[in-house]
């Protein structure tokens, strides 16, 4: 038998079978009703109400691509608008990996570009950050059942996006603070930012994060914490200048919360990271105590500044000692090498004709924190260069 003959026979076999294997109309209808009534028994409260846009979309979307010629341009335009609206709505709950997700991101970008003021853009960024936080939570809650690890990787990417939106919000907040003449509007906006931060923190903390995502979660929360302080400083500034009359109790409460956060952060760090100098932690605690004292004396702006000092100290102390030793060889530091100068890999001008000095810095060195020690080491190094 040739291949052609074989295929012909296979086709014959198939078509004959299909002619026999027909579900009769009444059989099919009976089966359909049986299935639907079984579904109703299983899920009696299932009818939640189909949204209008979904009904509209269902009516206008064709069953197949073989369409009858569309009678008029207006009908086509109407169809296009309903479809766009329906598709964007349908994409609202889409997660990364879903084709509708790109539509969702596109719609967000379009709305961001069309925003005409810093405030509008900041509001868009807040909305986007909240959305990403929600996605992050959904993704991490699915990690357990995911064998391909893709949800974890996507969650990591989403967390980076949340952080980037938070940075965006912070920039806009600072801009608005500097440029907005109406203090009431600035304060209202700062409160909105504060509420958004709370929402984001809640979403992130409610998800069951994994060990691999721990750093991502910490990064996002640290960024939110930074903005939270900016909001507090702004509110205190406007309150003390008398531009806006804010409730002193509310401000006290917020300040107390910030102080609590730093204290808890210091305690957690002491438990988690044994490499942290006890003296440094003691210093954080002392600064926190000073902030508390200032708060009791109602010297809010100074209390806020102390909180910031404690936060910054804590952030710097969090860099493990071993990492500092690795990147911060004191032998390689030249005069003028400050944190600001070395954001990335910096090649400094040659100090001697034969020696090129490279400083790699991505985190502040531990010894840079102590200005006296820093000066000593710079002097030592200068002597070495001269020699």
């Amino acid at each position: 038998m040739t291949e052609k003959q074989l295929i012909k026979n296979l086709n014959n076999l198939g078509s004959s079978f299909r002619e026999q294997a027909v579900l009769k109309k009444e059989q099919s209808k009976g089966l359909e009703n049986l299935i639907i009534s079984e579904i109703e028994n299983r899920t009696p409260d299932s009818q939640q109400g189909v949204p209008v846009w979904l009904k509209l979309a269902d009516m206008v979307v064709p069953e197949s691509l073989v369409l009858k010629p569309v009678a008029s341009f207006s009908l086509a335009m109407g169809l296009f608008l309903i479809l766009s609206f329906a598709t964007i709505n349908a994409s609202a709950d889409a997660l990364p990996g879903n084709p509708l997700y790109n539509i969702k991101i596109g719609a967000e970008k379009a709305r961001y570009v069309m925003a005409f003021s810093d405030e509008q853009r900041a509001k868009m960024s807040m909305e986007i950050a909240k959305m990403r936080a929600k996605e992050f939570r959904t993704l991490i809650n699915r990690i357990d059942s995911d064998q391909t690890n893709s949800n974890q990787l996507t969650a990591q990417q989403v967390s980076v996006q949340i952080k980037s939106e938070l940075v965006n919000i912070k920039d806009k907040l600072v801009k608005i603070k500097d440029n907005q003449e109406d203090a009431k509007k600035t304060v209202a906006f700062a409160k909105e930012v504060d509420q958004t931060l709370n929402d984001i923190e809640q979403e992130i903390e409610q998800g069951e994060s994994t060990l691999e995502l721990e750093n991502n979660v910490k990064d996002v929360l640290a960024e939110a914490d930074d903005i939270s302080w900016v909001v507090l400083a702004l509110l205190v500034e406007k309150h003390e200048s008398g531009e806006v009359d804010l409730s002193a109790d509310d401000l006290d409460l917020k300040l107390e919360q910030e102080i609590d956060k730093v204290s808890t952060g210091a305690e957690e760090m002491a438990l988690e990271n044994k490499e942290i100098d006890e003296q440094e932690l003691l210093q954080v605690k002392e600064t926190v105590a000073e902030a508390e004292e200032l708060l009791e004396q109602e010297i809010l702006s100074e209390a806020v500044a102390k909180v910031k000092e404690a936060k910054d100290f804590l952030k710097e102390a969090a860099v493990p000692v071993s990492q500092n030793e690795q990147v911060g060889d004191p032998e390689e530091v030249v005069e003028g090498a400050t944190e600001e100068a070395d954001k990335e890999e910096v090649i400094l001008p040659k100090a001697t004709p034969t020696k090129e000095i490279i400083i790699k810095e991505d985190k502040p060195e531990e010894w840079l924190l102590d200005s006296e020690r820093q000066e000593e080491r710079v002097q030592e190094f200068e002597v070495e260069i001269v020699n």
Partner: protein, 189 residues
């Protein structure tokens, strides 16, 4: 059915819309019944199994509102395959028994063919042999593509969705399956 239409129906089903589910049923019921009938011993079993497939499909769509169903066709056939497999597992049957009435099949071929009576008899014999040989193909993928293509009459695109391979891979697989079938047929001779 277009992808957008399918996604809209899925969204409606997730809101509990049974009418939307009827549309899905109407679109797939014949194909799924045929798919199952070819793989189960009798029509009663096939009807029960078809019902089970559609109930399982509803449960899957309705109870997993966050899961994106990219390929509904693939999902339905996957559920149908699982139902068939569990049928045999439950009954501990090692070999599938195909449900085709060979006599009726031969009769129809006799009616349709325009060849001479002698040639017709030859063809009948070869068809029934072919029928047996397909069921004995050891390679699961080969047997699956042959059945999906010639028995279930699905396009390469539809098969690719069901077996989760590209259309190109389906063509290659089908070509190799035919070659294997031809070898088996010749060995049988």
């Amino acid at each position: 059915m277009t992808i957008i239409k399918e996604q809209i129906l899925i969204a409606k089903i997730r809101k509990g819309d049974k009418e939307a589910y009827r549309e899905i049923y109407k679109k797939y019921s014949d194909k799924i019944y045929r798919f199952i009938l070819f793989r189960l011993p009798d029509k009663e079993d096939a009807l029960d199994a078809t019902q089970e497939v559609f109930l399982k499909l509803w449960d899957y769509i309705y109870n997993n509102p966050d899961k994106f169903i990219k390929n509904l066709t693939g999902l339905i056939y996957q559920i149908a395959r699982n139902v068939v497999a569990s049928f045999y597992y439950e009954r501990s049957r090692k070999q599938q028994v195909m449900n085709v009435d060979i006599n009726e099949l031969e009769f129809k071929l006799k009616d349709e063919t325009k060849d001479t009576p002698d040639e017709n008899v030859d063809l009948k014999i070869k068809i029934s042999e072919l029928y047996q040989i397909i069921s004995k193909i050891k390679n699961e993928e080969y047997r699956q593509v042959i059945e999906l293509k010639y028995i279930d009459d699905l396009s390469h695109k539809e098969i690719s969705k069901i077996i989760n391979k590209s259309e190109g891979s389906v063509r290659v697989l089908l070509h190799r399956a035919i070659k294997k079938l031809k070898d088996n047929f010749e060995k049988n001779d």
